[in-house]
């Protein structure tokens, strides 16, 4: 490739802009979060303050629990749906595709108000109602993750082989398809989980308390603590996503790695 000045102007401009928009705020927040008591020196005081707050652990636990359930619900619902959709019901794909993009379009605030109107009393009286709505909000992402990985496997061949060997549908899905699209499943699971952990709008409008809604209240008394909290959330989210990409890479790579190994062995 020719080295043109145009290229370097573009790269330089992008680097400068991303520095300004993304790196500076993160850096500033990190710097503030390590401020010592009374704004002097460097220490972990703000993080210590965070851990000492009443409600830190209970609310974190609630969020983890609801997010995990939402992840599981998403998989139980979407894995069979996506398999059948790609295998036998291609004609319904535009409709399912449309329904799965809707949560990105319908304002979450409106969905929350609608939930208050539509859900029966016993559902609204349980914090587990959030699990269903977290799964709804995650739909666009779970759909995409599962669909992409289903496109990469010879679904029809796998199912025909398994069925003709006498396996039931349940066994086919659990023992043949699930292992084949493991990376997509893990990706969908973690995405739903990550969205559930950070969900604020529905939770707050339906008057439940989870980690994100609790932080708003906690932040009011200590802005440095709140900043420490945002750094904590960001680092957590990045760690979670790094795990996803690591796992999904491990999920997709083995075939190519194995064939390489064979090459070496042979």
């Amino acid at each position: 490739m020719k080295i043109s000045p145009f290229k370097w102007i573009l790269i330089g401009a992008s680097a400068f802009l991303s520095l300004l928009i993304f790196v500076f705020p993160l850096f500033a927040a990190a710097t503030y979060s390590f401020r010592g008591e009374a704004g002097k020196g460097r220490s972990l005081a703000n993080y210590r303050w965070l851990l000492e707050q009443d409600g830190f652990y209970p609310n974190l636990f609630t969020s983890l629990k609801l997010a995990a359930l939402a992840g599981i619900l998403s998989l139980v619902l979407m894995v069979p749906t996506m398999v059948f959709l790609n295998l036998k019901a291609q004609r319904y794909k535009p409709l399912v595709d449309f329904l799965c993009i809707l949560p990105l379009i319908i304002p979450v605030v409106s969905l929350a108000i609608g939930a208050q109107v539509a859900m029966p009393e016993f559902v609204q009286n349980s914090e587990y109602e959030l699990v269903f709505f977290f799964a709804i909000i995650a739909l666009p992402y779970t759909y995409r993750a599962l669909d992409t990985s289903l496109q990469t496997v010879p679904l029809k061949t796998l199912v025909e082989a398994s069925r003709s060997l006498g396996a039931s549908w349940v066994a086919t899905i659990l023992k043949v398809i699930v292992p084949a699209i493991r990376s997509g499943i893990l990706g969908a699971l973690f995405l739903a989980f990550a969205l559930g952990i950070g969900e604020f709008t529905i939770t707050s409008l339906l008057h439940w308390e989870t980690f994100p809604t609790w932080t708003v209240g906690a932040a009011q008394s200590n802005i440095l603590g709140a900043i420490a909290l945002s750094v904590f959330s960001f680092v957590g989210a990045i760690a979670l996503l790094a795990t996803i990409s690591l796992i999904s890479r491990r999920g997709t790579k083995p075939e190519s790695l194995e064939s390489e190994d064979e090459g070496v062995l042979l």
């Binding site: 500033a28 927040a29 619902l77 799965c100 979450v108 539509a118 799964a135 994100p212 996503l241």
Partner: protein, 295 residues
């Protein structure tokens, strides 16, 4: 994909079609009950008066005064942030597709996924740390001789919210638009060069028309996202910028008298209508993009 029509024709195939739909029933039941039904329910209730009669009167406050102003502000905010987001996101996507290596590009994908979904409470505090009155960037700029707080600017204003929203709009655009740029084939550039076109002509006559539908689709997606964003604006502005979601939130949080409940419903439906317009644009753009890819 043949068509989006999903009516079940009552033909001899009926039985086979039934077995096709059956495994999809849990999905349709779930989305129907937890996604479609709430939207329908709030729409129906917004059309009811205090006595339970059918009426459009709940919508009258939306047509003038502060509520109309809130809609205008919300739409303006989403437009501005989606313009900034789509242009810069597209620039980043182009630079990364063109010049970044596979591993670095994958890392950027992951980081963008985090940032694109970061439109929550933490983001607001982060920007206060950077651009607040005592923020790090504010103080650094001040020592350099530029007091950003000298004029009307605060991080809690409209401009402030625009800056904060860009933080998740740009990465979202990057993620959504990158595959489209990656889909530009080398052969097309070669073909147009062989036909005597310059780089500029190639971009003007081939690449940009090809990318346009995807770009417009992504723009509408950003618009819908910015329009409905709630958490960041709420934590940041505490009501200083009148946005529809914030007003709905205040109505829901307060002790609701029945008048306000009707108003909240009408505002929620108003938001769905605006988002619905964006959705029509999105679907149209998706269809055009698919057409390009096929031919």
């Amino acid at each position: 994909m043949k068509s989006g029509v999903v009516e079940t024709p009552k033909t001899a195939q009926g039985g086979r079609l039934g077995s096709q739909v059956f495994p999809l029933l849990p999905f349709f039941a779930f989305t129907g009950y937890f996604l479609i039904w709430p939207v329908l329910a709030v729409t129906l209730r917004s059309l009811r008066g205090n006595e339970g009669e059918w009426t459009f009167s709940n919508y009258t406050p939306l047509l003038h005064g502060s509520y109309l102003h809130a809609f205008v502000t919300s739409i303006k905010l989403s437009l501005v942030t989606s313009v900034i987001g789509s242009l810069l996101g597209a620039l980043f996507a182009f630079v990364v597709v063109r010049y970044a290596t596979g591993r670095f590009s994958a890392v950027l994908d992951s980081i963008s996924a985090v940032f694109a979904n970061s439109g929550g409470v933490p983001l607001a505090f982060m920007f206060i740390a950077a651009f607040g009155t005592e923020g790090l960037v504010t103080r650094v700029l001040k020592t350099l001789g530029w007091d950003i707080y000298a004029g009307h600017f605060t991080i809690f204003s409209f401009t402030g919210v625009v800056m904060v929203y860009s933080f998740f709009q740009i990465p979202l655009m990057f993620l959504v638009f990158k595959p489209a740029i990656g889909g530009l084939r080398k052969e097309w550039l070669e073909a147009s060069t062989n036909l005597g076109a310059t780089q500029l002509t190639y971009w003007r006559r081939v690449a940009i028309p090809m990318l346009m539908p995807s770009f417009i689709g992504a723009f509408f997606l950003l618009f819908a996202g910015g329009f409905s964003a709630y958490a960041t604006a709420r934590a940041l502005t505490v009501g200083t910028v009148p946005l529809v979601p914030i007003i709905i939130g205040t109505l829901v949080d307060g002790n609701v008298v029945s008048d306000q409940q009707n108003l909240g419903d009408a505002l929620a439906v108003g938001m769905i209508i605006v988002a619905g317009v964006a959705m029509v644009g999105y679907i149209w753009a998706q269809k055009s993009a698919a057409k390009w890819r096929q031919s």
